[in-house]
């Protein structure tokens, strides 16, 4: 488990976890949130923001300049100042079916958040379906280019057996952004920095 939900709305949520969680969240990482309901379902999301809140004591420690190992551990592992992680919802799974739609209802306070395994990433993002990209592209308040680039990088690794996945995803992005030149350039520029290659028949190979 990665953490517990702090707050949520239809399109996303913020969860909190201790700084030293073993299963630490990473930017662009795909997460899942199991929801108890009459027909249970599981929400999928992408981590678009990780913030570490401070408080008066942390500020005082920083200005003192002398931070000892036990004080670092104390503040990371004991004090109730959580790491806050922003997640945007990209779809859900119910009765074995994947939907690239917003979930029926957002998760509730203290619901548990888990990171997705490679198999779960492939199951959600596999094949030719990239409908979930629209949830990312419509957000104006997040670094869309960076998020898509990192997601494609991570998902390509998960799709190790499908070397064409990355190329198909990139092609879909070009189609979706054909009328939005500035966003397209931002996404392409970020993709260029991932080291992914989309050329040749085996496009999408790393």
């Amino acid at each position: 488990m990665m953490g517990h939900l702090l707050r949520s709305d239809t399109a996303g949520c913020v969860f909190g976890c201790r700084v030293a969680e073993v299963d630490a969240p990473v930017f662009g990482g795909m997460v899942r949130i199991p929801i108890e309901a009459e027909i249970p379902y599981q929400i999928y999301g992408l981590i678009y923001d990780i913030s570490i809140e401070d408080d008066g004591l942390v500020r005082q420690l920083v200005t003192a300049g002398q931070v000892t190992p036990e004080v670092v551990r104390d503040n990371r592992e004991n004090r109730t100042v959580p790491l806050e992680v922003g997640v945007l919802f990209i779809g859900y799974k119910r009765q074995g079916e994947i939907y690239h739609l917003l979930p029926p209802r957002p998760p509730l306070s203290l619901d548990e958040i888990y990171s997705c395994s490679d198999q779960e990433v492939c199951e959600f993002a596999g094949g030719e379906r990239f409908g979930y990209f629209r949830h990312i592209l419509r957000r104006m308040d997040i670094p869309v280019g960076e998020l898509l680039a990192v997601h494609l990088q991570q998902a390509s690794l998960a799709h190790a057996g499908d070397v064409g996945w990355g190329a198909r995803a990139a092609k879909e992005l070009i189609v979706l952004l054909r009328d939005d030149y500035s966003t397209l350039m931002s996404v392409m520029s970020a993709l260029g920095d991932t080291g992914l290659r989309f050329d040749g028949a085996a496009g999408g190979a790393l």
Binding site: L57, A64, G65, T68, E70, V71, N78, R79
Partner: protein, 373 residues
């Protein structure tokens, strides 16, 4: 108030200068000063002052170098006082403690101990448990927690609490005080058996124990019966205003014994002592009082460990020095106003669920709650 402040400041400064002159004059006359205090104390058993135990009054001891591994234990308490205005009367003593091992890459360990007081536990032989009684119960619980933790350690221990070791409780003759005080001393005995450097840390002290000693020093022998009685020669002068000029950054003062009615109840190894410590910077002195029992005051190694540990702990908080461990134990223990209401609601629900009819909230409290003031 503002208009009178400059004149008052000048007057206080003149008193302070005179007190410093007496301090300098008696710096090495410690033996005769001790005898004078003993005589004054015999004439006035309620005398409250410092009693010199070192050779010089103006000693200033630099920060010792202590490199051996040790453990810091700090405990702090928080409480909810029972209120007859609430629908249910209850009290709470919450004690938080933290264990740190300086320089060691180990996660500090927090513990919390909560004691809910209700029904019989709010009644003593002398009647209702008073606010003073609850505060003493909290102080006892802090020391007991420290003793329990210290007994598990194999390394040298520094055991810290916030505030003086000398408890304040009136009247001291009732059974409520006697029972709690016995437990208080019992916990100190346990800490003594562990050889812990136990101390009470008094931030921004306003005490004048040394000033009162100087007042006795300035009295002619034939007037010793007036010791500790008004009018006071250096009224308003505080000890830290004297020691601020004597102690450099990181230095501690001489150790003094506390003479008071309450302090007499601490005997042998538990006798109360104190020193002043400058935890501030060279250009910005900040003095605190550190109260220690005799077994620490008379043991140079324990005193050095405490001196060094307090300075290192204070440095962690930079320009507003205060021991990190004590701050953290406070964070663990503190019960906020909101938490009190949450707890009260939980208790009320549980009572109602068990068919208990609750008394009415006082109209005064009800009006306060309604206007949220």
């Amino acid at each position: 108030m503002g208009r009178q402040a400059p004149a008052r400041r000048i007057q206080l400064d003149q008193s302070r200068q005179r007190a410093l002159e007496v301090l300098a004059a008696h710096n090495e006359l410690v033996e005769s000063l001790r005898s004078k205090v003993e005589k004054a104390n015999a004439l006035n058993p309620r005398l409250r002052c410092a009693f010199p135990v070192e050779d010089r009054l103006t000693s200033h001891v630099p920060e010792p170098v202590v490199e051996k591994p040790h453990v810091i234990l700090a405990a702090d308490g928080s409480q909810i006082y029972p209120s007859r205005h609430d629908r249910v009367e209850f009290g709470l003593v919450n004690v938080g403690a933290i264990r740190l091992q300086p320089g060691c890459d180990l996660t500090p360990h927090e513990t919390i101990h909560s004691e809910l007081l209700y029904d019989e536990s709010l009644i003593t032989q002398d009647g209702q448990l008073t606010e003073g009684g609850l505060a003493l119960l909290r102080d006892v619980s802090e020391r007991v927690r420290l003793a329990e933790l210290a007994e598990k350690e194999t390394l040298p221990v520094v055991a810290l609490t916030d505030g003086p070791l000398e408890p304040f409780f009136e009247p001291q003759e009732n059974s409520q005080f006697k029972d709690l005080f016995k437990d208080f001393l019992g916990a100190l005995v346990r800490l003594s058996a562990c050889g812990a450097s136990a101390a009470g840390y008094v931030d921004k002290p306003h005490s004048d124990l040394v000033v009162r000693l100087l007042e006795i020093a300035a009295l002619p022998e034939q007037d010793l019966s007036q010791a500790g009685k008004p009018p006071r020669r250096f009224a308003g002068v505080t000890d830290i205003s004297l020691f601020r000029e004597l102690l450099g950054s990181g230095e501690r003062s001489a150790v003094f014994e506390i003479r008071s009615v309450m302090a007499r109840k601490f005997e042998g190894d538990l006798k109360l002592h104190f020193f002043y410590l400058n935890v501030g910077r060279q250009d910005y002195p900040y003095l605190v009082r550190v109260e220690v029992p005799a077994w620490v005051a008379e043991h140079q190694e324990l005193l050095d460990l405490l001196h060094s540990t307090l300075l290192n702990q204070c440095r962690l908080l930079g320009s507003k020095p205060y021991p990190y461990a004590l701050h953290r134990s406070h964070e663990v223990a503190v019960v906020t106003f909101e938490e009190k209401w949450q707890l009260l609601n939980m208790i009320e629900v549980e009572m109602l669920r068990n068919g208990v009819t609750l008394s009415e909230q006082s109209h005064k409290q009800s009006a306060k709650d309604a206007s949220n003031r």
